[in-house]
Structure formats: C-alpha cells, structure tokens
C-alpha cells in the first residue's frame, strides 16, 4: 500500500467531487441561516461534518464534528488544522460524549426550602436582576477560561461599562495569572512571542515542572514524533515526579519543590561565570531589573554589576544543595544555554504558575533565555502553555479580570479607561478606577458574613466549578452555607460541587450547542458555529448576560444605557433594523457572536493584539494575532512577535523590537528574583509535600469527562500517588486507604504506587478531577503576592494508613 498512490488517488477524486460536496452541505433544520454552508460537508452516510476547536485544554486542536439526526455521532482530528494536523488525544476523540450525560441540566431551578425547583427563564433572570439592582457593588461575576470570547466580552462590558464595577474574575486567575505578570513585567505586554512552530524547530526542549504527555498530549506527540522521523530533539524534564513525559526525556532533573527559582538562578550564574551570556543580544535588547519589595509588578532598575552580585551565591554546588539536583546537571543546563548553535524552547504550565513565587519564576525563565540570547529565532523561545481552551482568548485578551480592560488595558490607567469609555460610548467616569477583588479574595468576601466585612452578596458563576477547584474550599467556598443573605447563581451543564450550594441554577448550552470563539496558547483565535440543539431549555451564557443586562435596563439601572440613551447591548441586522437579542426567540436572528466579537476587536489595536475580523476566522482553522490587513485587503497572521521577519509592527531594520517595553526603550527586562522557601514547607508535624494536578483522561473537575464512559473507564477515581520507599515506611500498599491530613482538613484516598507516575521521596500527588474526593478541601490558599495565583502544588501534609475499623471521615 503506497502512501503516495493513496494521496494521489485522494487528490484526484477530491478535485472532481468538490462541487458535489458543496451541494451536499445544507444547513440542517434548527440551525440559524447565517451558519455558513462553506464550513461543513455531508458524507454519503448522511453525517454532516463541521469544524470546531476541541472543548478541553489550551492546545486548541481542531476537531471535525460529525452530526446526524441532530446529534453528534463521531469526531475526527481535523487534518486541515495546523495545531494538531489530524491527530487528537483520548479526550478530544471522545469530546462528543460530553453533550449526552443523562443528567444534563435542562431547566432553570430556584432553591426553595433547601430544594431546587423548576422555574421559568423569565423568573430566573428577574430574580437575579433584582439582586443586582438592590446593591450592584456587592455583585460578583465569576467566569472562566472556558467562556467563549463573545461570552467573556459580554460579561466584561456588562460589569465594567454597565455596572461600573470591577468585581469580575475568571477561574484563569487560578491557572495562568503568574504567566501574565511574567510576560507583562518582562516584555510590557502579555502572551508568548513564539508559537507551536517553535516545537518543530527546537533542538532542546526543557520542561519546567510540566507534564505535557498528559496535559498537552498533542503538543507532546508533536515533539516526540520528530524522533520517529529521524530528527534529534533533546528533552530535559525538570520535575518533582517521574511522569509519562519523563519516560521519553533524555535527562530527568528531580528538584525539591520551590527550588525551580534556585535552578534558574544557577543557570544565569553559570552564563555569567563562564562568560557565555550573549553580550550582543543583551546589549541591544535588554535592561536589568529587580524587585526589592517582592510585591511589585514592574520593580526597579538594576544594572549588570548588581545582577552579577545578586547571582554570585547561586553556584552549582549551592543550587544542588537547595534543589537536590546534582551540580553536574546544573552545569549541563548552564552549558546548553551557553551554546548559541542550539535552539532551546522552554515549556511550562501550572508547575511554574501555581506557585507562591509564580511571577518570580516566570521572570527568571524569560531571563535565562534573554541573557543567553536563546530568544528571537524559531525554536528559541520561552513559552507558557495554558490549561483552558480560551484562557488566553477570553481571560487574558478580553481581560475579564478585576484589574483589566479589553485588549491588555488596565482599569487603573486613566487613558485606558477614557479610551474604553469612548469605544463603549459610555459617559466619562463610568469605569471604576479601583481594581476589584481577585479570585480568592472575592470568594472569601462572599463566604464572610455581611456584618463582618463580607461585601459580596451575590456571585454569578458561568462555565466553571469553583466548588471543586478553589483552594482551601472550606474557607473559600463552603463558608457560604448557612449565610442566609448570600446568593449563589450558577450556570452550568451538569450538577456539580458548585450547584450543591447554588440558590439559582441556570442550564447552559455547551460547546457546539452554541456559536463560539476560543483563543488558544499560541495566540490563535478559533471560531465555530452552532451544530446541534442544546437539551431542554439550556441557553448560551452570552444570552444570559444580555438578558440580565436588559432586565436591569427595564428596572431603570442607569448603567445599562450608553451616552445616546440606548441599551448597551443593541444589535442590528444587515438591513439596519434593531434585533432584540435579549428576547431568546430573537437571539439567533443575527449572529450575536459576530457582532460582539467585531465590537471587541476594536479594543485589541491599542496593544497591537489585532485579532482577525470574525468573517476571516470563519474561513480559517484559527489565526494567530496580530492579524494585520494587507494592502490587497487580505489578512496575515503573525507567528513570531517582536521579530522583524514575522511581526509587521517591528520597525524595519530593528531585527527585534520590544515595542511595549516597560522601560519605553524597546528593551525587555532581565530580572533578578531570589529563591525563597515556600510559605508552608513540610515539618515534623506535616512531613510530606502535597502536590495536585490533572491526568490525561480528565479535564479539570471532571464535570464533562467523568460522564464519558471511555474516559471514566480508564480513570475512575482519584488516588494518592507516593514514592514506593515512603509507602513502605508507612506500611501502605497499592489499594490501601491512606489518610491525608493538612492544617485545613482530612481526605482519605486509595494509594497507587508506581502507577501513572512516581513522585520523589517526601512528596505525594493527588489529581483533582474527582468530585467525590475533593482534594481542594485540604489544599493551601496562599498565593503569589503579584499575580494573586494560589499554589496548588505545594503544601504540607501528613499521611497514615487508615485502620480497617476506622470509618471514613
């Protein structure tokens, strides 16, 4: 069987049948008329195939969704997608199953006398609107990196331009805000300069506390499959446990938790000591910086001598002592970075971001790349990966954070506020200059009685499950129980740990049951159309926000009007007629996604984050911003930012230009940040580290994937993973029940030894997907003082065997 023959045959056949394909691609009944036939095909078995980004992680694979008789029946990896080139992971192949769990929420429900009872949508929106109307300042909006961009933008506009309130946060605060503060403090603007193309060009890939084999499997196979093709790529896994990624790594550097900062400083120390740092690159493109307070986003100016002196103590021997990584391995890293003939890509995700020193370690990894000149060529890149499908697109770019405005602008900046007020056509002063509460604080305030300073009385949760994913749940979430004047509204698709405490539950449309746009880890914006009907009365989250805003408009809230006295969410059809999108019967009369996205697009120009127009996204499998219009009216994406050969905003002849530089001189910042111990380290009472995370089968809190038989079958419940030597010492064997106790609580879990991974001695790992075994009841709520992102990877725990007679707590 010759692949070439097959390709030729396929191409010939395809060429002759293109017309037939187009004719077959009709729009099924129930879908809006603007759903372009051009994105879909119908195969002879009656299956309609349309594109969509996968619903799960931040990789942003495209799938082809097979729909028959109004239901998703099959999934394919999209061969036309650059991200995944036809391949998916086990979650992606089973993404269709998430729509069909038998316990989908299908009607709005209100809790009366402790029981959820069905009510109408009109009642539900009215109840919520009246809570907001009574005290708008005490209303919090809590969304996620799974919000589509139009959904997040609607919520952002509703809060900041409508209510004049900054009490809006996404769950992305819990997963990538340290990456944001890292990028902002180094380059002056958020998001990676490189893209996935770096993975094809790198000679060395360094994983900084990262396990892409399970968390970003398609990117991982993109790297390791290069070896199958005969290419050489050296993989260095720096981690605290041996994982599936370690299995294919050339070097495994096992470090004591928290000491990643010491290792990064150790590399910088060696670059200076060996004089292998890139004098030319640093001289042209970098300034030095430090942060004596440990709490400042932009820090203070520093110089090379100060930098050298600060790093003097980080000798390989000292770093080895702190980290447990042998000094020769530290030297190996220093030597690799000292070689300009190699291209080095660093990857990281939650290991560096969920860190009480998250901002600092992000700065340091950018720093070793800048100092060594491993920056600015394809394959030479410090690249953070995101965990959610639109953490970049919705949380970071739309800025659904308590301190941000769309397009990377800030509420504390008067010029930015004025610009946004003008774009939104709202009166000057509408936007509140005071940042709202960051996520942990928002929920703490919600769980604190009103008379004791708990100034948040109502939270509207969309597309996330804080009842399972907030750290230290007893304090940050469960505290709500029993507070009669607190009101929790949850829009979701299934019952969750969050709906357990909800007063009002709203059934949401999921994934291809609505139109959407996501933004992935490599600045790629991806659009899809609604392809099936949601069950029962489930509706899109963007509609809920618009309907809530309109009810407030009817109740007379002045913020719901713009300067021309019109409702802030006014939509028009092609003929210029007003469309009442808040009335669900008319929501799909026009493509509200298109209207919201193109409105949002105007905000992205200020920081040169030009997203593509909606209609361009329809035609593409995602486009990487900045997407810039050419003289002939076409649009070009940008693969590598700040690099002249790719980025149109770089001044001709500059080579590399950091045009949003903090120091306003087109230079990036090389930071010094010291290693400091974790806020809660193991001690005699609590002698182990507790680390939490994900597994390949389940996505986040398992709400969707635990309802897919193939994924649940593969990984049915949570466990505690420990080193065999530790287990032996504690008398624990596979399947035994262990009692885990931290200063915050207790959880009993079955032990799994040498299973999915093996932690270092003194560390245990528990995945957080299992809603029956909530590990976050015992995790720590401490966070990075700059990014406000909590540390889910490190706290102290003690472990003992559970005696058979002891009942489950």
């Amino acid at each position: 069987m010759q692949r070439r023959d097959f390709l030729r045959a396929t191409a010939l056949a395809a060429a002759t049948t293109v017309i037939a394909r187009r004719l077959g691609a009709t729009i099924p009944e129930g879908l809006p008329a603007y759903v372009a036939a051009t994105t879909a095909d119908v195969t002879p078995d009656g299956v309609r195939w349309d594109k969509a980004p996968c619903r799960f992680c931040g990789t942003g694979c495209h799938v082809r969704v097979g729909v028959k008789d109004g239901r998703v029946v099959a999934i394919q990896g999209d061969p036309a997608a650059e991200v995944n080139k036809g391949l998916l992971c086990m979650k992606g192949y089973h993404v269709g199953g998430i729509l069909y769990g038998k316990d989908r929420l299908t009607t709005p429900q209100l809790r009366r006398n402790g029981k959820l009872e069905a009510i109408t949508w009109e009642e539900a929106i009215d109840i919520l609107a009246r809570r907001v109307m009574k005290d708008p300042a005490g209303f919090g909006f809590y969304g996620s990196g799974q919000w589509t961009i139009p959904e997040g933008y609607a919520a952002q506009k509703f809060m900041k331009a409508g209510l004049g309130s900054n009490q809006i946060e996404p769950n992305a605060r819990l997963c990538m805000s340290s990456a944001v503060t890292g990028y902002v403090s180094v380059y002056g603007v958020d998001e990676p300069a490189g893209c996935y193309d770096d993975l094809d060009a790198a000679d060395v890939v360094i994983l900084w506390g990262n396990n892409p084999a399970e968390m970003h499997p398609v990117l991982w196979s993109r790297i390791v499959d290069r070896r199958t093709r005969g290419e050489k790529v050296v993989i260095i896994d720096m981690g605290t446990r041996r994982t599936r990624s370690t299995a294919l790594a050339d070097h495994y550097l096992e470090f004591r938790p928290q000491t990643d900062l010491a290792i990064a400083n150790g590399i910088a120390h060696l670059l200076l000591a060996n004089d292998t740092w890139d004098h030319d690159f640093v001289g042209k493109h970098c300034n030095f910086r430090h942060d004596p307070t440990g709490k400042s986003l932009l820090g203070e100016a520093f110089d090379l001598d100060g930098y050298r002196a600060a790093l003097a103590s980080y000798t390989p021997e000292y770093v080895a002592k702190l980290s447990g990584v042998p000094a020769e391995k530290i030297r190996l890293l220093g030597e690799l970075f000292g070689r300009r003939d190699l291209r080095i890509t660093s990857l990281w995700c939650m290991g560096m971001n969920q860190h009480t020193r998250g901002t600092a370690i992000n700065r340091l990894v950018h720093g070793v790349h800048l100092l060594s000149g491993h920056w600015g060529r394809p394959g030479d890149a410090p690249t953070s990966l995101t965990g959610q499908p639109s953490a970049c697109g919705t949380a970071r770019e739309v800025g659904t954070l308590c301190n941000a405005l769309p397009g990377g602008l800030l509420v504390t900046n008067a010029e930015h506020r004025a610009e946004c007020e003008e774009l939104w056509n709202v009166p000057p002063g509408r936007i509140n200059p005071e940042p709202g509460h960051h996520t942990v604080l928002l929920w703490e305030k919600f769980c604190t009685p009103t008379d004791k300073g708990g100034d948040i009385h109502t939270i509207f949760v969309q597309v996330t499950n804080p009842g399972q994913t907030l750290p230290d749940l007893n304090r940050t979430f469960r505290g709500k129980a029993g507070l009669a004047d607190k009101f929790l509204v949850v829009s979701d698709v299934y019952p969750t740990a969050t709906t357990e405490l909800a007063d009002l539950v709203l059934p949401a449309a999921l994934w291809v049951e609505k139109n959407g746009v996501f933004g992935n880890s490599e600045r790629r914006t991806q659009q899809w159309f609604k392809q099936v009907e949601p069950p029962g009365q489930a509706r899109p989250d963007a509609w809920m926000t618009i309907a809530l805003a309109h009810r407030l408009y009817e109740l007379g809230h002045p913020g719901m009007r713009d300067q021309d006295d019109r409702f802030i969410f006014t939509f028009h059809d092609d003929a210029g007629r007003e469309v009442p999108a808040w009335d669900f019967d008319h929501y799909y009369d026009i493509n509200t996604d298109r209207a919201l996205f193109d409105e949002y697009r105007r905000f992205t120009f200020h920081k040169h984050k030009h997203v593509a127009p909606y209609d361009e996204l329809v035609k593409a499998h995602g486009l990487r911003w900045p997407v810039v219009e050419q003289a002939d009216g076409t649009f070009n994406e940008t693969r590598f930012r700040f690099m002249e050969f790719s980025d149109p905003f770089v001044k001709k002849g500059a080579g590399i230009q950091f045009y949003h530089s903090v120091t306003k001189d087109d230079r990036a910042l090389i930071w010094f940040c010291p290693y400091e111990p974790a806020t809660e380290e193991p001690d005699n009472d609590y002698p182990f580290w507790l680390c939490t995370g994900r597994v390949i089968e389940h996505w986040h809190s398992g709400t969707m994937t635990m309802r897919v038989p193939q994924l649940r079958g593969s990984m049915p419940n949570a466990y505690v993973e420990m080193n065999p030597a530790d287990a032996r010492k504690l008398g624990l064997a596979n399947g035994d029940m262990a009692v885990l106790e931290t200063r915050r609580g207790r959880l009993d879990l079955p032990v799994w030894i040498d299973g999915r991974a093996t932690p270092q001695r003194g560390l245990v790992f528990v995945p957080f997907f299992d809603e029956r075994q909530l590990i976050n009841t015992i995790t720590l709520g401490d966070f990075c003082p700059i990014s406000k992102e909590p540390d889910y990877k490190k706290c102290a725990v003690r472990i003992r065997r559970r005696p058979a007679e002891e009942l489950r707590a």
């Binding site: 396929t10 394909r21 069909y100 991982w220 466990y719």
Partner: protein, 254 residues
C-alpha cells in the same frame, strides 16, 4: 573484583528481567484475575511469594522454553502459518459470526473511527511495549492481536484509553457506591458497507483513510475481523477499491 562486579551485574540483570517478564505475563492474564492481585511494594512481597507469578527462566533456557501462559505467542513469519489458503478465495463469515464480531468491535470504541480502548492492563507510563504485539502480525494462542492501522506515533496511550483503568489498585467502593457511574446517551456512528456499481464490482471504501492507511491491519487474512478480505492473495488494495472523496475530511474549498 572484576568477577564480583560481573556477578553483581548478572544478579541485577536477572532481577530486572524477572520483574519485567513476570510483569509482562501478569499483564496478559485475564483482567479479572489481575484484579484479584493486590500488588505489593517489591520489598514487602517479593515476586516469588505471589503464588501465580511465573518463575523467570534462565537466559540459557530461553530459546527452548515453552512460554506460559501465552505459549502460543508467535510473530515470526515462518511459524505464522496462515489460517487461510493465500492462493484461493476464502468464504465470507456466517451471519451469526458477523453479528458477534460487530458487537465485540462496538464494545471497544465510542463510534466508528474512534481510537479503540485497550481491553487489557497496560503500563501506565509508556508506550514502548505496545509495539511488541501490535507492531506486526501476532497471534497469542487463538487470539489474533490487532495491528496498528496507522503510521507509528510515539504515544499510543495518548489516544488509546485502557478500558478497565488501573484495575483494583484504585477501586474505592464506598465512593463509587455513593456516586454510581453517570449514564450517558451518546450514540456513536456505526459502520456501513461500501457501495458498488454492480453485482461483483469492487466496493468503494466506506470509510476515510485517515488513521487507516494500513488496509491489511483490519482486512488482512487470518484475522477474526468481520471485514477480512476474501482474496488475501491480492496485495494492491487501491488497484480496485476506490477511496470515496465524499468521505475524506479535506479542508473546505474557499
């Protein structure tokens, strides 16, 4: 000194081999039997104490040793005597056999085209051992091991999920009882037969060729597959069987 080092090396090698081999065999026994095993950390319960463990053979004896329990394991071309006569057409399966095979096939995938789940325990950490059986035609006893239908990817467990998960190591009955398996009404696309122009014409492929570049993986002779070819003597499938461009997921033309 030298002798003691080499002796030590032999001991280490033997110990490693013993562990690996017994682990391999353990993995091959029935899932429910494996589930009864409660694996202990090595020092607490040496392999020899596990009554069902297989004594590892000496290297010297390997060549002549009869393997157990998969003594029928075979992947060499000479010992793989074809169950069919390559020179003659083979009769199609009976209707009942076809139905049984289709049910078995459907039980191992969410929809036609989904990566099949893995019906046996696996190494949770790596894919290196998958190819030992799935890389070439292999038969263990009377079981024909499915071959890869697609090009080699390095991470088998990226797409193929074990059907029975980690087995007993993670069974947590109290929690499972409190929250039974959540029902799902997803109904996957089922396979359809290919169309043909007239009686006796070669059928057009009823599926895409993505992930199915190796026709003989599923249609090859000797397999228990319902869709095995009736004319295994012919090697150039695409000479007669046309791909169906209408099914291929090509990017839409602008």
């Amino acid at each position: 000194m030298k002798a003691s080092v080499s002796k030590f090396a032999v001991v280490v090698a033997l110990a490693t081999f013993t562990t690996a081999l017994s682990g391999y065999f353990m993995g091959l026994v029935q899932a429910d039997r494996a589930a009864e095993q409660r694996l202990r950390p090595a020092e607490e319960s040496p392999v020899a104490d596990v009554s069902t463990a297989i004594t590892a053979p000496r290297y010297a004896d390997l060549a002549n040793r009869e393997h157990q329990p998969n003594h029928g394991w075979s992947n060499s071309l000479t010992s793989l005597s074809p169950a069919v006569d390559f020179t003659a057409d083979t009769p199609p399966l009976a209707r009942g056999a076809i139905e049984a095979l289709l049910i078995k096939r459907a039980s191992r995938r969410a929809y036609n085209g989904a990566p099949p789940t893995v019906p046996h325990p696996i190494d949770q950490r790596g894919s290196q051992s998958c190819l030992a059986c799935h890389g070439q035609p292999t038969r263990i006893g009377d079981v024909d091991v499915p071959r890869m239908s697609h090009a080699l990817y390095s991470q088998c467990i990226q797409c193929h999920a074990p059907k029975n998960g980690p087995g007993s190591a993670l069974a947590s009955p109290p929690a499972e009882a409190a929250h039974p398996v959540l029902a799902n009404s997803f109904s996957g696309l089922q396979p359809t037969g290919g169309t043909r122009a007239y009686l006796g014409a070669p059928p057009v492929m009823p599926h895409t060729t993505a992930m199915r570049q190796n026709c003989l993986a599923c249609h090859g002779p000797g397999g228990s597959s319902v869709i095995k070819t009736t004319h295994p003597q012919r090697q150039n499938c695409l000479q007669c069987h046309a791909t169906d461009a209408l099914r291929e997921t090509l990017p839409p033309t602008p």
